[in-house]
C-alpha cells in the first residue's frame, strides 16, 4: 500500500540541508519514523520534515524549492 508523507506547514520545500550539501533522502532509500526527509521554509524560518511513517521511498511528489501547502503530499513510501 502506498503511504504519503505530508507537509506539516505551508512554505518552500527543500530536499537538502543547504545548497552545497546532498539531499536528505533519495528514491530507494529506507525511511524510519523520525527521519528527516526535507525542510520547509516558512517566513525565513526553517523546519525539519520528519517522517511519521516508515518504508521505502518510492517517489518525491514535491520538487526541491517548490512552494507547498500544509497537508500537501511531499513523498511516497512503499
Amino acid at each position: 500500500m502506498t503511504k504519503q508523507l505530508l507537509s506539516p506547514l505551508p512554505g518552500t520545500f527543500y530536499r537538502r540541508p543547504s545548497p552545497d550539501q546532498p539531499n536528505f533522502k533519495e528514491v530507494g532509500d529506507t525511511v524510519a519514523v523520525g527521519d528527516v526527509i526535507g525542510l520547509i521554509e516558512v517566513m525565513k524560518s526553517f523546519n525539519e520534515v520528519q517522517a511519521d511513517q516508515a518504508g521505502t521511498l518510492t517517489a518525491f511528489i514535491a520538487d526541491d524549492e517548490e512552494p507547498v501547502m500544509a497537508g500537501q503530499p511531499l513523498a511516497e513510501l512503499a
Binding site: L9, G11, E41, V42, M43, K44, S45, E65, P67
Partner: protein, 460 residues
C-alpha cells in the same frame, strides 16, 4: 524629473511605500512580483505589474535577468530596489546602469566598498571615523594574531573575513581559548566561505545600537540625525526610535559629523545609514557598518525631521542636487516604530502566514501605519514575516510611548498571530520607559517575561 517610470524591485510594505513616493513625484510605476504576490497591495496600486517568476525569491525577486526584461518591456527608466533582496547587490546596480536605467541608490563601486567589511573599516578610518578596535584587516600569522589579541584586550571576537550575517563568529575570553578557537574558526571559514581568512575585533559588552541617516547627491552630503535600535532579538531590530533614547548632545554632534565625513569621502549618492555601537559607560562610539539603501526603520527619521527620505533618494539619484542644507534639518519631538510581524510571541515567535480576516488600523494624531495588509489579503509563507510598521510621533519620548500604547490598543489584525502583545508589554516596561537598554537587553527580558507574552490584550 529626468525619469518618468519607476520599476519597484521589491515587495511588501516597502513596495507600497516606494509607489506612494513615486506617485507624489508624478512618476508612473511598474511593480514586478512573484507568482505568490499577484494579489499584493503593491501590485494593485502600481500602474503596471509584471510577473517575474515563481514564489521562491531566488527565481523571482533575485532574478536580475527577469527584472531587467520587465523594465525593458514596460519602458521603465529607473529601478528602486527597496531593502533586502537585491538592494545591496553591486552587480545588480551595475547591470541596471549598463541597461541605461537610473539606479535609485549609490553606484556599484560604493556598494562594493561599503559591503566589504574590511574595506568599509579602512574607508571609515581614513575618514577619521572611530572603528571597533581590531586587527585592521586579515590576520594570517598566528604569532601576530596573539599580539593583536593582547593589544585589544579580551574578550576578543574572531570573525571570518568572508563571513556575514553573524556567521563564522567566535568569542575568546582568554589566550588559552583564543589558541584553541583560531584553528577551528579558520577551518570553519574555509569550509563555509572558501576562505580561511580571519580578523579580530574587541567585544563591546554593553552597547547601544545607534545609526545615523545620511542623504547625498554624489557631491554634497547631510545627516538627518540618529536612530536608536537597541531592542533586538536574534540581531533583528524590533523597536526603533529617533532620536536615541539617551545620547548626550555633544556625542550626537560628533557621531553625525563623522557620518557626514564618511559619506563625503566616498562621494555617496542616495539614502544611506552608518551603524555604530555606542558604549554609554565610556562614551565611546565605534563604526560597525554602512547600509547602502533605505532601511526598514526610516519612517522615524521622517517623523522627527519632516523629510520624505524615499522621495529625496529618488530625486538625487535621478540627478537632482540635494535640496537641503545641513542647517535646514531640524530635530523635532520623538518618534518610535515597532515592527508588527506575523509571529506568535507566546510560541517562541513561530511565524504564522495566513489570511487577514479583519483589519483595524490605528489613527489619530501622530500615528502612521506602513503596511501592505488589506482585509482578505493572504500573507504568503515564502518571504519575511513583516506585516507592517506602526510609527508614532509626539513632543517627547514619554508622550510618544504613551501614544504608541494607545495606537497598539487600536490595532487589530484578525486571522494571524502578530507581535502586537510584545510591543504592548515593552511600552509598559519601566526600563524601556527609562531608555535603560542595550543590544543584549531584550533576549533575557523575553525569557523572563515569556509567561506574560501569551495573551492578546484589549483594555487595561
Amino acid at each position: 524629473m529626468a525619469i518618468t517610470k519607476l520599476l519597484v524591485a521589491n515587495r511588501g510594505e516597502i513596495a507600497v511605500r516606494i509607489i506612494r513616493a513615486a506617485r507624489e513625484l508624478g512618476l508612473k510605476t511598474v511593480q514586478v512580483h512573484s507568482a505568490a504576490d499577484t494579489e499584493s497591495l503593491a501590485v494593485r496600486m502600481a500602474d503596471e505589474a509584471v510577473n517575474i517568476g515563481p514564489p521562491i525569491a531566488s527565481k523571482s525577486y533575485l532574478n536580475i535577468a527577469n527584472i531587467l526584461k520587465a523594465a525593458a518591456d514596460t519602458g521603465a527608466d529607473a529601478v528602486h530596489p527597496g531593502y533586502g533582496f537585491l538592494a545591496e547587490n553591486a552587480d545588480f546596480a551595475d547591470a541596471v546602469e549598463a541597461a541605461g536605467l537610473v539606479w535609485i541608490g549609490p553606484n556599484g563601486g560604493a556598494i562594493r566598498v561599503m559591503g566589504d567589511k574590511v574595506a568599509a573599516r579602512v574607508a571609515a578610518e581614513a575618514a577619521g571615523v572611530p572603528v571597533v578596535p581590531g586587527s585592521d584587516g586579515r590576520i594570517d600569522d598566528p604569532d601576530r594574531a596573539r599580539a593583536v589579541a593582547l593589544a585589544i584586550g579580551f574578550p576578543v571576537m574572531i570573525k571570518a573575513a568572508a563571513g556575514g550575517g553573524g556567521r563564522g563568529i567566535r568569542i575568546a575570553n582568554d589566550m588559552d581559548e583564543f589558541d584553541r578557537l583560531i584553528p577551528q574558526a579558520s577551518a570553519e571559514a574555509k569550509s563555509a566561505f572558501g576562505d580561511g581568512g580571519l580578523y579580530l575585533e574587541k567585544v563591546i559588552e554593553r552597547a547601544r545600537h545607534i545609526e545615523v541617516q545620511i542623504l547625498g547627491d554624489g557631491t554634497r552630503a547631510i545627516h538627518l540625525f540618529e536612530r536608536e535600535c537597541s531592542l533586538q532579538r536574534r540581531r533583528q531590530k524590533v523597536w526603533e526610535e529617533a532620536p536615541s533614547a539617551q545620547l548626550p548632545q555633544p556625542m550626537r554632534e560628533k557621531l553625525c559629523a563623522s557620518a557626514v565625513a564618511l559619506a563625503k569621502a566616498v562621494g555617496y549618492r542616495g539614502a544611506g545609514t552608518l551603524e555604530y555601537l555606542y558604549d554609554d559607560a565610556t562614551g565611546h562610539f565605534y563604526f560597525i557598518e554602512m547600509n547602502t539603501r533605505i532601511q526598514v526603520e526610516h519612517p522615524v527619521t521622517e517623523m522627527v525631521t519632516g523629510v520624505d527620505l524615499v522621495r529625496e533618494m529618488i530625486r538625487v539619484c535621478a540627478g537632482e542636487p540635494l535640496r537641503y542644507r545641513q542647517e535646514d534639518i531640524r530635530l523635532s519631538g520623538h518618534s518610535i516604530e515597532v515592527r508588527i510581524c506575523a509571529e506568535d510571541p507566546a510560541r517562541n515567535f513561530q511565524p504564522g502566514p495566513g489570511t487577514v480576516t479583519e483589519l483595524t488600523v490605528p489613527g489619530g494624531g501622530g500615528v502612521r501605519f506602513d503596511t501592505m495588509l488589506y482585509p482578505g489579503y493572504q500573507v504568503p509563507p515564502f518571504y519575511d514575516s513583516l506585516l507592517g510598521k506602526l510609527i508614532v510621533w509626539d513632543e517627547n519620548r514619554s508622550a510618544a510611548i504613551t501614544r504608541m500604547a494607545r495606537a497598539l490598543e487600536e490595532l487589530h489584525v484578525g486571522g494571524l498571530p502578530t507581535t502586537r502583545s510584545l510591543h504592548q508589554l515593552l511600552a509598559r516596561d519601566p526600563e524601556v520607559q527609562a531608555g535603560a537598554f542595550h543590544t543584549r537587553w531584550l533576549e533575557p527580558w523575553l525569557e523572563r517575561n515569556a509567561h506574560k507574552l501569551g495573551t492578546e490584550e484589549t483594555k487595561a
